[in-house]
Amino acid sequence: MHNFDFVKPGSVAEAAEALKAEDAMALGGGQTLIPTMKARLNAPSALVSLSGMAEMVGVSGSDPVVIGGATTHGQVAAEAGYPALAALAGQIGDPAVRSRGTIGGSLANNDPAACYPAAALASGAVIKTDRREIVADDFFVGMFETALEEGEIITSVSFPVPAKANYQKFLQPASRFALVGVFVAQFDSGVRVAVTGASEEGVHRWSAAEEALSANFSAEALEGLSVASDGLMSDLHGSAEYRAHLVKVMTGRAVRAAG
């Protein structure tokens, strides 16, 4: 790890100011950034901690459920009045990761195998920043890419609560990230299905499944569908074909589990 300055602002405005420094980076829970710094893959001039601001921590509301950007996975798992989301948060990493990692950090990083992006996209969440509001459909741009601008801070995430929802995660055996994860959310307006872990473009919606499930919210509705393996990731832990297969299996399981 290279030397860096550490800044712990007391307000979002101060944090935004601090992030204007050249090569400054925002620090959420540090569960991705710190390991990359240790490996010298990242060398920020300053780390601006987002964990010292009361305004960015906490879970509130019943519909939508609003989660502060610096809220840990552990707190979401314990407090969010959105059972599928709380269950998802409770399956991220291990207890140490859940005690440090934050929802804002996870969404901003947009790891293609992370869990939270699937919840945000399937729920039609609204990502609030220090500058604007971004709907999830516009937020996730590609693998490790989001609509966030330089120095923009996720202050909170607002989750509409669906009538039924469930997240099914098939573990990558080593990292225990999602080899494939599928979040299914049924709203009055229709069903949204978001898939993580599978695509080279990161989290994405499976529109054919959404259409079929909106008409008939049952696993049987998926029977005629198939997932193309084009554009899906292929690595030591699974081929694109295997991931395509798992997308359908996990979607069906999520629908069944959602009830």
Partner: protein
């Protein structure tokens, strides 16, 4: 449980108190005055010509003390190999020079190109990044078959090819074996891979070199399973330091699993550099470095054939294996696929004719050497898999086929040059059938099927050779060392006992189990006995801990030394009680004269030995301290039978291990709880190998699984509660404790049981699948199910 805490008692591990409360003293806990830190610049290409290493800019950076390159070690010895295998044509193996720092070429990702010694590790690392290295890439040799092909790029230009040796065993049997195959009623053939593993002990390697200019003495603190072996190899072959000027200390060590047996370049570097800069030099491996510098394990590609007669008796066995050596020969690498593998090929069965061929191959990968079991898991896996396959082809019960072919009379001389002294394979299989509730399997399978799951049962046996080894024998087989063990038993004036053992404990619990033996022999409490190990300055020359040898060989040395102590103490007691020595008995910590009520306590005798006011000084010396070296007459042969049940999700290929049972015969047992723990750990490692762990290189020689993001270690949730039993005991006939060793059994016995279980589940589910290579990841299982 014996009330006295002696042999057979499940005493709690006394060392765990310090380990679990953070009070252990590991190598990284040692910090010396004036210490410097080294960072190794390692190759990021697998194969290339090292055209230049320019350290000029780096040398002027803050904190840099000195930078070393391959030039500095050009006149220093190479890292030695401790075993020379002779091939089937009578030629010795090809043995390349293994430089401490790469010189001329780099041959694997992770090989050291330069070493920066600085005031802090951060400064050393900063400077290492400023070193300019010019490497001309060469094609990487990764696949063993391609490495052996005509015209392949050579890993070592000065060798004739990438073939280290072509070993045949027993070469004289080859024609008879081939003839038996011609005559066979049935032949089962299986091609399989024994996957490459990274050992991953919890504590990464650490080395600190120290040099005392006043005396010229060097000291190396290192994470080793065998400090004396390191002292001998490094002192005599690399650095030219006589043993009396070199001390090697291996304090608390956080797991080894084989990979801390070997002498590594980093140890030699720190010792060498400490003298060069006249300051201590410390290296602490990161986990990332461990993946590319610790010796890896396994990595065999095998074809095995089993011949049977019309009555399903095994008539011959023939195997053909390529064993990956990596880029250089690690300390014991050549012995693993040969003498630790070929000699175990008979397994538990009376197959009369066996021929084993092994081609050891150099590739542009990290060196491969012994890993828990070392050769024996590779032998057991292929044998027990091919037997399972044969049973399915013949439509017979896999257990019945095994039972039919069991060796039942002992001693038994195998056709692969070893003689099993004792065993009872029928008893362990009987015990296993009881433990695993085999009769209840069908009901469990049906219940799983109702939930849409495929339940499978896998069973196998294993034999291993532990307690390595008779020195005269291994000398004939190419070992460049003896394999005895040593102990000094020092009795203090007030009766306490210190045992200085050449065995090393890095998780095995010697500090608990060894005192139980002494306590039993003398009749004193185990807490009156202290175990000292891991420092060449205060222990006799010992060969260290590996191959499940500590209690069988090290424990036997301790018994021999304690016997000398007791004999001398009896002389003192006889003098004190004015009785004949022959009438003296030692029981419950007191000496008595047979047939009388005369008695002196252990402590009275030990005090007399050191305060010899009333003492037979004309006959014996004062003091009570004895040393023994024990060289075993044979290997020991633990054996057992294992069963695994899995439940497989046919939609995803994912399975869970629902049950694992082990019936082991370890001979006599010193501490049953520690033995349970050893088997639990071994099975967990075997489950790791068979369903999770995989060390994979790409065609460029880049390690694809170089971190825990891609290398899957077993977790607690991956294994069930184990059901282990070691009540079947056929004591070893040739060591004084009748013990066999238990450290590796779990890792040897478990992979075939798991793979057999998954294949069983799939076949019961209607899938015509006869084999899947380890690790059986969900993706591989699913792929196999796609046909």
């Amino acid at each position: 449980m014996p009330a006295d805490g002696g042999i057979g008692a499940s005493n709690k591990r006394r060392e765990d108190v310090r380990f679990l409360t953070g009070k252990g003293r590991y190598t990284d806990d040692i910090n010396l005055l004036g210490q410097t830190y080294v960072h190794f610049l390692r190759s990021d290409v697998a194969h290339g010509v090292l055209k230049s290493v320019d350290v000029a800019e780096a040398a002027s950076m803050p904190g840099v003390v000195k930078i070393f390159t391959g030039e500095d070690f050009a006149e220093v010895g190479g890292v030695p190999c401790g075993w020379q295998v002779t091939d089937r044509f009578g030629e010795v193996m090809q043995e390349p020079r293994h430089p401490v720092i790469a010189h001329g070429k780099v041959r694997h990702v992770g090989e050291i190109i330069a070493a920066v010694v600085a005031e802090s590790h951060a400064e050393a690392r900063d400077a290492a990044e400023a070193i300019e290295v010019d490497i001309e890439d060469l094609p990487a040799v990764v696949d063993m078959r391609a490495a052996l092909a005509e015209g392949s790029t050579k890993v070592h230009d000065d060798l004739t090819s990438n073939l280290c040796y072509d070993w045949g065993f027993v070469e004289e049997n080859k024609e008879a074996v081939n003839a038996a195959f011609e005559a066979a009623a049935h032949v089962t053939t299986l091609e399989l891979v024994n996957n490459r593993l990274v050992a991953n002990p919890m504590e990464p390697r650490v080395a600190i070199g120290d040099y005392a200019p006043g005396t010229g003495d060097s000291t190396l603190y290192t994470t080793s399973q065998n400090p004396h072996v390191i002292r001998l190899l490094m002192g005599a072959f690399v650095l030219g330091i006589p043993e009396h000027k070199l001390r090697v200390v291996a304090p608390d060590v956080g797991g080894g699993f084989g990979t801390k047996i070997f002498h590594y370049a980093e140890e030699a570097f720190c010792t060498f550099a400490a003298k060069a800069v006249e300051r201590p030099v410390k290296w602490v491996s990161s986990r990332s470095e461990a993946f590319i510098s610790d010796a890896h394990g396994r990595d065999h590609v095998t074809k095995i054939e089993l011949a049977l007669d019309a009555e399903n008796n095994f008539t011959a066995l023939r195997t053909d294996t390529m064993a990956n050596m990596g880029a250089y020969l690690s300390t014991f690498a050549p012995s693993v696929p040969t003498w630790l593998h070929g000699t175990l090929m008979a397994g538990n069965y009376k197959t009369p004719l066996i021929y084993v061929n092994v081609k050891a191959v150099f590739t542009n990968t990290v060196p491969v050497d012994a890993y828990r079991g070392a050769g024996r898991p590779e032998a057991t896996y292929q044998l027990e898999r091919v037997i399972d396959k044969a049973a399915r082809e013949l439509g017979v019960d896999p257990i019945a086929l095994r039972r039919q072919n069991f060796i039942t009379e002992f001693p038994y001389a195998t056709p692969v040059a070893v003689e099993y002294d004792t065993g009872d394979y029928v008893a362990t299989m009987d015990k296993l059938e009881e433990l695993a509730d085999l009769s209840g399997f069908e009901a469990r399978r049906a219940e799983a099927a109702a939930r849409g799951k495929l339940r499978g049962l896998g069973v196998n046996c294993y034999i291993e050779a532990c307690g390595i080894a008779p020195s005269n024998l291994v000398g004939q087989l190419g070992a460049r060392a003896g394999l005895y063990e040593s102990a000094t038993v020092r009795v203090n004036a007030t009766g306490g006992v210190v045992v200085m053992t050449g065995s090393h404990s890095h998780g095995q619990g010697h500090e608990t189990s060894f005192p139980q033996v002494i306590a039993d022999m003398i009749g004193i409490a185990p807490d009156m006995v202290e175990i000292v190990h891991g420092d060449t300055a205060n222990t006799p020359m010992g060969m260290g801990t590996y191959g499940s040898r500590s209690i069988a060989v090290g424990g036997s040395a301790m018994v021999r030394a304690a016997e000398k102590i007791i004999n001398k103490a009896k002389k003192i007691a006889a003098h004190l009680m004015e009785a004949a020595e022959a009438d003296i008995e030692l029981k419950d910590g007191a000496f008595s004269v047979a047939g009388t009520d005369k008695s002196v306590a252990w402590g009275d005798v030990t005090l007399a030995a050191y305060v010899p006011h009333n003492y037979p000084l004309e006959d014996i010396e004062p003091g009570l301290e004895e040393t023994a070296f024990y060289d075993p007459a044979n290997f020991t042969y633990p054996s057992g039978a294992y069963a695994c049940e899995v439940e497989l999700d046919p939609e995803t290929g994912h399975f869970t291990v629902e049950a694992f049972c082990a019936a082991d015969d370890f001979g006599n047992i010193i501490n049953p709880m520690i033995v349970d723990g050893q088997v639990h750990g071994g099975i967990a490692q075997g489950v790791g190998q068979s369903m999770l762990e995989n060390c994979v290189y790409d065609s460029e020689g880049q390690l694809m699984s170089g971190s825990y993001m891609d290398y899957a270690m077993p977790r607690a949730t991956d294994v069930p509660f184990f059901n282990v039993d070691h009540s079947c005991q056929t004591p070893c006939t040739h060591n004084p404790l009748g013990v066999k060793g238990c450290g590796e059994a779990g890792a040897i016995g478990s992979p075939p049981a798991l793979v057999n279980a998954v294949v069983d589940a799939l076949q019961r589910g209607g899938h015509d699948i006869t084999h899947i290579d380890m690790p059986l990841s969900p993706s591989r299982v699913w792929q196999a199910m796609q046909g």
